[in-house]
C-alpha cells in the first residue's frame, strides 16, 4: 500500500491526460457531430448523402481499429501526417464520437413536428432564424440524454488509447499495476477515478434535461387530457 502512494503522481498524471483528452474530444466531437447531424437532416440531397457515408462508415468500424489506423497507418498514406499519441487519440476518438452524435442530432431534428417548421415559415422567419429559435431549441430536449450517454461512453472508451502507447489513466494503471505487482489496487483506483470523471457529467446531463423540460411542465391540479398541439405528456 505504501508502494501505491509513491505511485500516486503517475496515476494523477494519467488521470490528467485522460481528462484533457476527453475535454478535447468532447468539445470537438460535439461540434463536428452537430454540424454533420444538421447535414444529415438537411433537405439538400448532396449534404445528406455525404454525411450519411461519413456516419455509416465511422459507426461500422471498431474504435480500436480507428485508433490504430490513425496512429500507424495514416502516416504511411499521407506523408507528413505523423501525429503524437495524444493527437492520434484525439483525432480518432473525435471522428468516432462525431458519427454517433451526428445521428442523435439528426434524429432530434427530425423529431420536431412539421407544423413547427410551417408556423415559423408562415411568420416570415428565414432559414437561420427558424433553426436557431424554433427547431434547434426543441431538438435539444430530445438530443441531450443520448448525447450525454455518448460522451459518457467516450470517457470510458478513451481507455483504448492505451493501445497506441498513450499514457492515459488506463495505461498509467497498467504500468503502476505491473510495477508494484499489485494490479488489483491499481485498477480499483483507476476505476474509481473514471467514475469520478463520469459522475459530474451524468449529473450535469440530468440538470440540463430538467431545465429544458420546464416548458413542458403543467401547473399542479391542471386537468391533463391530451390536447392537440401539445408535445405529449410532461
Amino acid at each position: 500500500m505504501g508502494d501505491l502512494l509513491t505511485y500516486l503522481p503517475p496515476l494523477a498524471r494519467g488521470a490528467g491526460m485522460t481528462i484533457i483528452l476527453c475535454l478535447i474530444v468532447g468539445v470537438a466531437g460535439s461540434i463536428l457531430g452537430f454540424v454533420i447531424g444538421l447535414a444529415r437532416a438537411s433537405s439538400i440531397g448532396v449534404l445528406r448523402w455525404i454525411s450519411a457515408i461519413y456516419t455509416n462508415f465511422l459507426r461500422g468500424i471498431p474504435l480500436l481499429i480507428i485508433l490504430l489506423f490513425t496512429y500507424f497507418a495514416l502516416p504511411l498514406l499521407i506523408p507528413g501526417a505523423v501525429f503524437s499519441q495524444l493527437m492520434s487519440g484525439a483525432i480518432g476518438l473525435t471522428l468516432f464520437v462525431s458519427a454517433y452524435i451526428a445521428e442523435v442530432v439528426r434524429g432530434a431534428i427530425e423529431s420536431v413536428p412539421r407544423g413547427q417548421y410551417e408556423a415559423a415559415e408562415a411568420l416570415g422567419l428565414g432559414f437561420f432564424n427558424k433553426f436557431r429559435y424554433v427547431i434547434v431549441p426543441q431538438a435539444m430536449r430530445v438530443m441531450v440524454p443520448p448525447w450525454v450517454g455518448i460522451l459518457l461512453a467516450m470517457i470510458k472508451d478513451s481507455s483504448l488509447v492505451s493501445v497506441i502507447g498513450f499514457v492515459d489513466l488506463t495505461q498509467a494503471g497498467k504500468i503502476v499495476g505491473t510495477t508494484t505487482m499489485q494490479p488489483l489496487w491499481a485498477f480499483v483506483v483507476v476505476g474509481a477515478v473514471y467514475f469520478f470523471i463520469c459522475y459530474p457529467l451524468g449529473r450535469f446531463g440530468r440538470w440540463y434535461e430538467k431545465r429544458l423540460s420546464i416548458s413542458l411542465a403543467r401547473p399542479p391540479g391542471h386537468t391533463a387530457d391530451l390536447r392537440a398541439g401539445d408535445l405529449g405528456p410532461a
Binding site: 413536428p113 407544423g115 413547427q116 410551417e118 408556423a119 415559423a120 415559415e121 408562415a122 411568420l123 416570415g124 422567419l125 428565414g126 432564424n129 429559435y133 424554433v134 431549441p137 426543441q138 430536449r141 429544458l212 420546464i214 416548458s215 413542458l216 411542465a217 403543467r218 401547473p219 391542471h222 390536447r227 392537440a228 398541439g229 401539445d230 408535445l231 410532461a234
Partner: protein, 240 residues
C-alpha cells in the same frame, strides 16, 4: 387584395388544384367550404407559399407569387396564418411566442414590440397568460395566442386553416368570437372551416370547392338557402 387566376397545383403526378380563379377584395371575409380532400387547405397554403404553385397566377397584396425573384419572406410578412393544430412554439412563453417574429424579422425595438404583444394578448382576452407556457393552456387559449402571434406581424391578410376543427365544442365559440371581431375591424380574411354558423354570420362570401375546382360562390344567404348546383346542395345536406 388577392387575385387568383387559373391556379393549378400538383403533388408529383396528382393534380389537386385544377384551375381555380377568384378575386378577394380588401377587408372581405371569404369562407372556403367543401368536402375533405377537395383542395381547400392546399389552396390556402398556396397563398403564402407554404405550397409552391405549379401553374397559374396568384397576386397577393401586390406580390406576384409566381415571380422567381420574389423573396418568400416578403410575402409572409404580409400574410398571417393560423393552423388547425395551433403550432405554438412549446419552448417559449406565450409572450415570447408572439414577439419572436417581429423581433427577428425586421422590427427590432424590444419595448415597442413587447407593448404591441401585450395589446394583442389583451385583444384575444388572454392578458393574464403572458408568462405561461403553451402546454399550460387549453386548446382554445392556444389558438387565440396563435391568432395574436400571427397578428403581431401586422399582416394585410389573415389565412385560417380550419382554426376550430381541433377544439372542444365549448372553446370553439371563444375563438370564433376573436375572428368575428377581427372581421369587424376590417381584416381581409380567408377562412377554411366547417363552421357554417360562422360563415353565415361573418363571411361576406362563401366559396364551395370540390375536387380542386370552385363549384359555386356567393353571399352566405344565397349559398346556404338557395344553392344553385346539385353538388353544393349534396354537400350542405351532408354537413347540416
Amino acid at each position: 387584395m388577392i387575385s387568383v387566376t387559373d391556379l393549378h397545383k400538383s403533388f408529383g403526378k396528382v393534380e389537386v388544384l385544377k384551375g381555380m380563379s377568384c378575386e378577394i377584395a380588401a377587408s372581405e371575409v371569404v369562407c372556403l367550404i367543401g368536402p375533405s380532400g377537395s383542395g381547400k387547405s392546399t389552396f390556402l397554403r398556396c397563398l403564402n407559399l407554404l405550397e409552391s404553385i405549379t401553374a397559374g397566377t396568384v397576386i397577393i397584396n401586390g406580390h406576384d407569387l409566381g415571380d422567381p425573384k420574389l423573396n418568400k419572406i416578403t410575402v409572409r410578412k404580409d400574410v398571417g396564418m393560423v393552423f388547425q393544430q395551433f403550432n405554438l412554439f412549446p419552448h417559449l412563453k406565450v409572450l415570447d411566442n408572439i414577439m419572436l417574429a417581429p423581433l427577428k424579422v425586421g422590427k427590432k425595438d424590444r419595448p415597442a414590440t413587447e407593448r404591441k404583444a401585450l395589446e394583442l394578448l389583451d385583444k384575444v382576452g388572454l392578458s393574464d397568460k403572458a408568462d405561461a407556457y403553451p402546454s399550460a393552456l387549453s386548446g382554445g387559449q392556444q389558438q387565440r395566442v396563435a391568432i395574436a402571434r400571427a397578428l403581431a406581424m401586422d399582416p394585410a391578410v389573415m389565412l385560417f386553416d380550419e382554426p376550430t376543427s381541433a377544439l372542444d365544442p365549448e372553446t370553439v365559440g371563444d375563438v370564433l368570437e376573436v375572428m368575428k371581431r377581427l372581421a369587424e375591424e376590417g381584416m381581409t380574411m380567408v377562412v377554411v372551416s366547417h363552421e357554417m354558423g360562422f360563415a353565415r354570420e361573418v363571411a361576406d362570401r362563401v366559396i364551395f370547392i370540390d375536387e380542386g375546382l370552385i363549384v359555386e360562390e356567393g353571399k352566405p344567404s344565397e349559398m346556404f338557402d338557395t344553392p344553385r348546383h346539385e353538388r353544393t346542395r349534396a354537400f350542405l345536406r351532408r354537413v347540416s
